[in-house]
Structures are given as structure tokens and as C-alpha cells.
């Protein structure tokens, strides 16, 4: 096996909200171009982990973390320009957040921040991102409509298109299918399988079968502990950890 540099590496990562520990001493690596699943019951520290990666912890009063968290071989705390770090990482939230802008402006938001001004160039970026998010055919005639007028599933694909617009090397998905119907979920999953060629994807999900369909490897978080990290199939065979198998088989959680 080729030893590549891990895209994400955490070593003994602990996250706290005030006195409450959200994640205690997690250590694992995420390789380039893999889909890395994270499953586990609520309050297991999954979302908190994502927040550390692009330093969204700065929004949450009282949130602290210790240990190592590296993105692209560099500690996230060593970035002097947090905004540049965040531009490397695309995030998709559980509930789609359409910025109060048109479909076009939603996708063009990040490129414009990055200084892209040319109309033709922006048009090309918007079309490419919407195509990659499997949304182009549905919205190409109403790019000027408010993003919030789209259906829930379309909005979620819009947020994916938006996350892609900054050419991230990492895409973080936090339970993206919560507000999306099964058909759309399948379409997005197909999109993710293709995007994997170009970027690293971290997929936090409540749906065990979704992790099984998509993830190359999956971590199982339980009550703030990273119980196991293994090839996804191992969770189902019990080779990873008996607690993980109990969870994926629905015996608790």
C-alpha cells in the first residue's frame, strides 16, 4: 500500500464546552480521496469534531479543544488567517442554509469573496458547481430566484454546490440527509462518490446504511469517545468493536 500523507490527522483530540467534555482523546487519520464516515448516537462529539477542523469553534462561546488537529499536514491552530483555512474546507450543515440571495449569488458568493469578478468566469463556476451537485438541470432557468424558494432537497444540493464553489480539498458533511427525501439522498450520494476523485470527504451520518454505502472507512463515536476506526464493513462483522456492532444492528442507540 502506498503511504500517502493523511489529509486530516488528529492526535489525542479533546473537545470541551465549559466543563462538559464532548470528545475525549480521539486519534485517527483521514486519507486523501477517501470518504471517511463518522457514525454514533447523538451527543457523541461528531459535529464538534467537524467544528474543530475549520475552526468554527470560534463561534461557540466556551468551546475549547486540546491535542493535535492537522489539516493537510498543518495544525489548524497555526493558521494566522482562519478565513483562508475555511476556504480550503467546504461544509454542508444538517439543515440547508440558503443565504438570503439568489441561487446564482449563493454559489457565486465564495468566488466573489476570493476576488473573481468576470461575469463569464463566474457563470462558468456557477454552472460547474451546480452540475456537480446534480442541481443544474432543475434550476438553470431560475438562477435569479431566491435560493430559499427551492425545495428542501434542492436547497441542500445548493449548499453542496456552494461548498464546492471554493474548490475545497476537504468536504465536511454533517448529517446532510436529515431534511432530504430518499430519492434526493440517493442522488447526492452518487454525487459524493464522484467528488471523491477530487477531494477528501468526511461524512457524519445517523444513517448506518448510508455510511455502509459510501464510506471507505468509518469511525464509531460513542459518548465522546472514538471507539473504533476501521474499514466500514468491519463494523458490521463485529471485527471493529462489539459496541459498534450493537449500534449498527440497532440494539441500542
Amino acid at each position: 500500500m502506498v503511504t500517502a500523507t493523511p489529509e486530516i490527522r488528529v492526535q489525542n483530540l479533546s473537545i470541551q464546552y465549559g466543563e462538559k467534555v464532548a470528545l475525549a482523546g480521539a486519534s485517527f487519520e483521514v486519507m486523501p480521496n477517501e470518504i471517511f464516515g463518522i457514525i454514533g448516537p447523538a451527543n457523541s462529539g461528531k459535529t464538534s469534531f467537524l467544528k474543530v477542523l475549520n475552526r468554527m469553534d470560534t463561534f461557540t462561546p466556551g468551546m475549547r479543544f486540546s491535542g493535535t488537529a492537522e489539516v493537510g499536514g498543518r495544525d489548524v491552530r497555526s493558521w494566522r488567517n482562519l478565513y483562508a483555512l475555511r476556504r480550503r474546507i467546504g461544509v454542508v450543515f444538517p439543515l440547508p442554509v440558503g443565504l438570503p440571495l439568489s441561487v446564482y449569488d449563493n454559489v457565486a458568493f465564495a468566488p466573489r469573496l476570493a476576488g473573481v469578478r468576470g461575469k463569464a468566469e463566474l457563470d462558468a463556476i456557477v454552472e460547474r458547481c451546480l452540475r456537480r451537485a446534480a442541481l443544474w438541470d432543475e434550476v438553470k432557468d431560475r438562477l435569479k430566484a431566491l435560493g430559499s424558494l427551492l425545495s428542501g432537497g434542492q436547497q441542500q444540493r445548493l449548499t453542496i454546490a456552494r461548498a464546492l464553489s471554493q474548490e475545497p480539498s476537504i468536504l465536511l458533511l454533517d448529517e446532510f440527509s436529515i431534511a432530504v427525501d430518499p430519492v434526493t439522498t440517493m442522488r447526492i450520494e452518487d454525487v459524493l462518490k464522484e467528488l471523491k476523485q477530487e477531494m477528501t470527504i468526511v461524512l457524519v451520518t445517523n444513517l448506518v446504511q448510508q455510511a455502509r454505502r459510501l464510506a471507505d472507512r468509518t469511525a464509531f463515536f460513542l459518548m465522546g469517545e472514538c471507539v473504533s476506526v476501521s474499514p466500514t464493513e468491519a463494523l458490521f462483522t463485529g471485527d471493529a468493536d462489539p459496541r459498534a456492532r450493537d449500534y449498527v444492528e440497532g440494539r441500542f442507540g
Binding site: F59, Y83, L95, L99, F109, L113, Q166
Partner: protein, 304 residues
């Protein structure tokens, strides 16, 4: 088994039912009384002012700067200078208050954190509670000599003085309302935009301000209304002399201040008395138009 439908003990008007009825009547009275009062005031002002009709010469009233209602030989009721006085003072006040209060609101809502934000909010609200006569006092005793000294002019009671005072008065209220408007923008917008690598200022400019524009517009218009209707501070700081201002150092007289200063000295029902009520109608109409405009603009934004 008992037949529940037929049980009379279940279907009975209990305390909760009666108190609900009582409260709904009370809030109805409260709500309707406000409307009745406003209509009453409108009818009263209109009735008192409309008696002026026989002296009403539109050309003189809107075309002349001579406001001399007490003249024995030739009473004139030109309000041009008074309108110009109110407009210049309010305009200058808004020029000062709008940037400062929007800046303050953006700082408090978007940039300040934790304790700083809380302390600032309380301070701004305290500023909003300073009585207007105190502001007038400041204009009279502090600003007046300051302006005379700084700009080497004979009189410091002028457009500049009252505009500054009025701007400072309106700013805290505008800040509070504008800040509420910014706070009403969901945090998820901010998070989503920052996750895209936007800086705090980029988030504010591209996402928060456009989303809050209705509320911000309301804040500005409320400030305009405040400046327009303010009486005491303007009366004290403007110099109260009839003038078409050509520079910020000219003394002026405002519509409101004219009513306040003269109404007590007129005979009820005299042309002067009725002329003052006509000014009242004018103030009422302009305020109404400002509010109507704000309402229409806000509706337009909501539709588009």
C-alpha cells in the same frame, strides 16, 4: 362505562374560560383606544386649524419667508423659513446620526463580544433616555460658546448646533432599533457565510446588512421622525430666529418650536391660533407620509 359526551360536568365554563374572555375584552379595549385617541387628536387639530381657511393664501403661506402673525397692520403667515429651518436641522442631524448609529449598531451586533456588547447596549439605552430639555441645555451652555470660539462666529445657536444636538439625540434610538434588526438575522446565515471563508466584515456587508435592510430603513425613518418632531432641544439650540439658512452658522426656527413658543400667547380662535394649528396639521401630514413611505418601501422589499 359513563357516556362522556353527555356528562355536563365536562362542558362547563370554568375559570380559564372566563379569564380568557375577560383578557380578550381588555386587550381589545387597549388596542382600540390607541386608534381612537389618534383619530381624536387628528379631528381636534383639523377642526382648530381649518378655521384658518378664510386667511389661507397658498402663495403667501408656502411662498413667503415672512412669519409675522402678530403684526397689526399686515399679518403674514409665510412658513417657508420655518419649513427650511426644520428641514435643515433634521437633515444635518440625519447626516450625523445615520452613519454613527449604523456603525454603532454593526459594532454591537456583529463585532463586539460578551461583556463589551452588554455594557454598550445598556449605555446606548441609557443615552436614549436623556430628556430632550437636557440636550437643549447642553446645546445652549456648552455647544454655543464652543461654536463661537471654534468658528469665530457671533452666535453659536444655529443649524450646526441644533443639528448636532438632534443627531446625538436620535442616534441612540436608531442604534437600538438597527441593532435589533441586525440581531433578527438568523445566526445560521452568519455561520454558513463564515464557513465559506468570509471575514466578519464580508459577512456583515454581503449577508447581514442586505437581510436586515427593512429594519435598518425603519430605524433611519424613525430617526427622521424623531428629528422632525423634536421641539424642546431645537427650540433651545437653534437660535429661534426666522431665517432662510444659507450656512450652518445661521440661526433658524423650527415648525415645532414655533408652535411651542407661540401657542400659549395667542387668543383661542384667533387667526394666529388657527395658523399654529395649521402648522400642526402640516407636521401631522408629513409624519404620516414618512411612515406611509416606510411602509410601502418595506412592502416593496418583501415582495421583491
Amino acid at each position: 362505562m359513563t357516556d362522556r359526551k353527555a356528562d355536563p360536568a365536562v362542558d362547563r365554563r370554568d375559570v380559564a374560560w372566563w379569564s380568557d374572555k375577560a383578557v380578550s375584552v381588555l386587550v381589545f379595549l387597549g388596542g382600540i383606544s390607541a386608534i381612537l385617541f389618534i383619530i381624536g387628536i387628528f379631528v381636534f387639530i383639523t377642526r382648530e386649524g381649518f378655521g384658518f381657511g378664510e386667511h389661507f393664501k397658498a402663495g403667501e403661506i408656502f411662498g413667503s419667508t415672512r412669519w409675522a402673525p402678530t403684526s397689526d397692520s399686515n399679518p403674514t403667515y409665510g412658513i417657508l423659513a420655518l419649513v427650511a429651518g426644520t428641514a435643515s436641522v433634521t437633515g444635518l442631524a440625519m447626516l450625523i446620526a445615520v452613519p454613527f448609529s449604523l456603525g454603532a449598531a454593526i459594532y454591537i451586533a456583529e463585532f463586539a463580544k460578551g461583556r463589551t456588547r452588554e455594557v454598550l447596549k445598556v449605555l446606548v439605552e441609557m443615552l436614549a433616555a436623556i430628556p430632550s430639555v437636557v440636550w437643549g441645555f447642553i446645546g445652549l451652555t456648552i455647544m454655543n460658546p464652543l461654536i463661537i470660539q471654534t468658528f469665530d462666529v457671533p452666535i453659536g445657536l444655529c443649524v450646526l448646533n441644533s443639528g448636532l444636538i438632534l443627531g446625538l439625540m436620535a442616534a441612540p434610538i436608531m442604534t437600538t432599533i438597527a441593532e435589533d434588526a441586525l440581531k433578527a438575522v438568523p445566526d445560521s446565515y452568519r455561520e454558513a457565510a463564515e464557513a465559506l471563508g468570509a471575514t466578519r466584515w464580508q459577512v456583515t456587508r454581503r449577508v447581514v446588512l442586505p437581510a436586515a435592510r427593512q429594519g435598518l430603513l425603519a430605524a433611519v425613518l424613525l430617526g427622521v421622525g424623531r428629528g422632525f418632531g423634536e421641539t424642546m432641544a431645537v427650540l433651545m439650540a437653534s437660535g429661534h430666529s426666522i431665517n432662510l439658512p444659507t450656512s450652518p452658522f445661521d440661526s433658524v426656527r423650527a415648525l415645532t418650536a414655533t408652535i411651542a413658543a407661540e401657542l400659549g400667547e395667542t387668543a383661542v380662535g384667533s387667526p394666529h391660533y388657527q395658523a399654529l394649528f395649521m402648522l400642526g396639521i402640516l407636521l401631522f401630514a408629513v409624519t404620516f407620509l414618512i411612515n406611509l413611505a416606510a411602509d410601502l418601501i418595506v412592502r416593496g422589499i418583501r415582495k421583491g
